[in-house]
Symmetry: C2
Subunit: 379 residues, 2 copies
């Protein structure tokens, strides 16, 4: 079997690495140059995009921001999984909000704003603590603005004045007073069967995910049920096939959907060591029509992103059950260079390992690590 992934970054690479043992060949499309490459070596595959589409059994994506003309071309082949609607929904916060509303899934109170003059009404309805997100191309904290108090509104309007809000509307959300961020990564097969990884707890810094912990501590059955019901409603409505991630804010004992990602997700990378079948293998299994693999956590695991740096001691591999996943990219500020997975038999033991890990890493690039190591040891 042959799979073609749109996007040739680390997610395509990790999907390819998990597909090879199943005898499935993965090629990737560099969506900028529209060339077909090997997602591991990044070498040209020696074929045109249309030839690659023709020869592939399944097409999929590693990210939702695929240019629309490429998505359309993939869609008309009849081989795209998940489908174009799911991908477009993940790429557009307005579509996403409308879907959540239609399905009655709890999310943050919000307004869609197509003109800066509508901001006053939004403040009146939602209060003065707001987060404004561009409907499209909002990725890792880009294209977002915050309002902390009504007095700053005039300045914000000036900052937004140059944007064409009719073309790219803003989703203006009430800043949720949440206790933590959680995500549910799950997988749905073509027959509609869903399997779920446990909820992960996600620690962000300056708009980027830094640490995921799975299973998230202190999860009640009620929280899991809410999350799985939201996932199932979304995946069913979208007739989804593959791995889907749903991000939540936890407010008391309620979950509000923050956003959905129609693909394998950074907060599921722990599954490469922490579960029997990783999210990458399960995405490939699902889109290729193979039975899904087990998603239960084998033991508590943490995923630590390596962001914007490449200098650290390889001796970190001396920590038991510690694995490096390097993406082979050149270093750039705020760029995800790789991640580290650490597992242990208990949260306390995991915390101790993370504390040890912090000794091998430049702490200025890992602002969430030490506090998380200490928190886990005190659980």
């Amino acid at each position: 079997m042959r799979v073609l992934i749109y996007g040739a970054g680390q997610l395509a690479r990790m999907m390819a690495l998990s597909a090879v043992p199943m005898g499935i060949e993965v090629q990737a499309v560099d969506v900028g140059s529209e060339t077909v490459v090997d997602p591991i070596s990044k070498l040209p595959a020696g074929m045109s995009l249309s030839q690659a589409i023709e020869e592939a059994d399944v097409l999929s994506v590693e990210f939702e921001h695929v240019p629309e003309h490429l998505l359309e071309q993939a869609h008309v082949s009849g081989k795209l999984k998940p489908g174009i609607e799911a991908i477009l929904t993940g790429a557009d916060r307005v579509r996403e909000k409308r879907l959540l509303e239609r399905l009655g899934i709890a999310n943050c109170a919000h307004r869609i704003v197509t003109d800066v003059e509508q901001l006053e009404e939004a403040v009146a309805a939602l209060g003065e603590r707001l987060i404004l997100k561009a409907s499209r191309d909002g990725y890792d904290g880009y294209g977002q603005w915050r309002l902390a108090q009504a007095a700053d509104l005039a300045g914000l309007k000036t900052a937004l004045a140059e944007l064409d809000l009719n073309k790219v509307p803003l989703v203006v959300e009430q800043m949720a007073d949440f206790s933590r961020e959680l995500s549910l990564v799950g997988v749905r097969d073509a027959k509609g069967r869903c399997q779920f990884y446990p909820l992960a707890e996600n620690l962000h810094y300056q708009g980027q995910l830094h640490v995921s912990l799975a299973p998230a501590p202190g999860i009640t059955e009620a929280l899991t049920t809410q999350a799985q019901q939201a996932f199932t409603a979304l995946a069913t409505e979208l007739d989804y096939v593959g791995v889907l991630a749903v991000e939540f804010f936890q407010v008391d004992d309620r979950l509000l959907v923050n956003e959905i990602a129609p693909r394998v997700h950074n907060s599921g990378h722990w599954s490469m060591q922490g579960a029997d079948t990783s999210q990458f293998e399960n995405h490939i299994r699902a889109i290729c029509g193979l039975p899904l693999g087990c998603t239960a956590a084998l033991r508590p695991s943490a995923m630590i992103n390596i962001i914007g740096c490449k200098e650290f001691s390889q001796q970190l591999l001396s920590i038991p059950e510690c694995h490096l996943h390097w993406y082979g990219k050149s270093v750039r500020k705020k760029r995800k260079m790789g991640h580290i997975n650490v597992s242990a038999e208990s949260y306390a033991a995991l915390g101790a390992r993370l504390e040890k890990l912090s000794g091998y890493l430049p702490m200025e690039h890992f602002p969430k690590l030490v506090a998380e190591a200490q928190r886990l040891q005190s659980l």
Copy 2:
């Protein structure tokens, strides 16, 4: 870092798949054509062998039968791990026997025979139930003969008459009355630290490994100690770096070394799902000077070789904790095409899963599976 592996088969491929996440690039040498290839795609790497040796940080092997002129060239580069003596010892049963004798490691009573006329003396000393093995190129049951009774000696001498026993002597062994075959896969780093996977039990059929089970059931501490002591003595003497496999016959509560393999080993493939760090990752870690990973078994696991067939139901992946490892080769009689790893929380549960697995496979190619499934359920 860059690693060059001699041999471009499944072992090089699985080493490469485990090296990529650590940011280590693996290339392979097709030792027949002496070309350098990508061990995953098998595409030419676009460089000469001498250039690849020059650019590599470490050289290693996926099998011991590398032509000697290539081994010598690798050796003089100063980058070969494990060293040439270890590889030549694994490739030559006479060298191997001499090493075992020198170190006082228990093995089968034997004679080295360089002339068929010495066979009478061997029968007189060892008895009439013998196994004769060519010192070199004995691989997967080729180059082996058996004597069941003294009366057959004349016929055997005729069969051997055409061989040049001075060039390739025979190791003539007393057929051991063993209860089972076990193997110890371990890894030694450049500083001499060893870590061991648990002993695996191996089921052969017509000279080929069909099923490995790890940890082997019913292993006493005394057996583990014997195996680890033999491994450590061999690895220390050879100043070994990397994964080494030692195969044993169990006779009552004693272990006799059958043979050693200076490389990752088929009886260690279960570690891809059954241990935190697979033998492939640990070999790469060791030869690249990285800390070794954990070798403990997470849960009971079985490895089932797929030999000489490629037709089976992919629905076998519906069995929990069941993973396919396909090598991407064309089918040939007795050729190892791939393997299946199955894990479970107990031997009994593992046996039940193997029984289910047998329903998805053509049983004529899996002669050991059903009986093993039943045995595990009765443990």
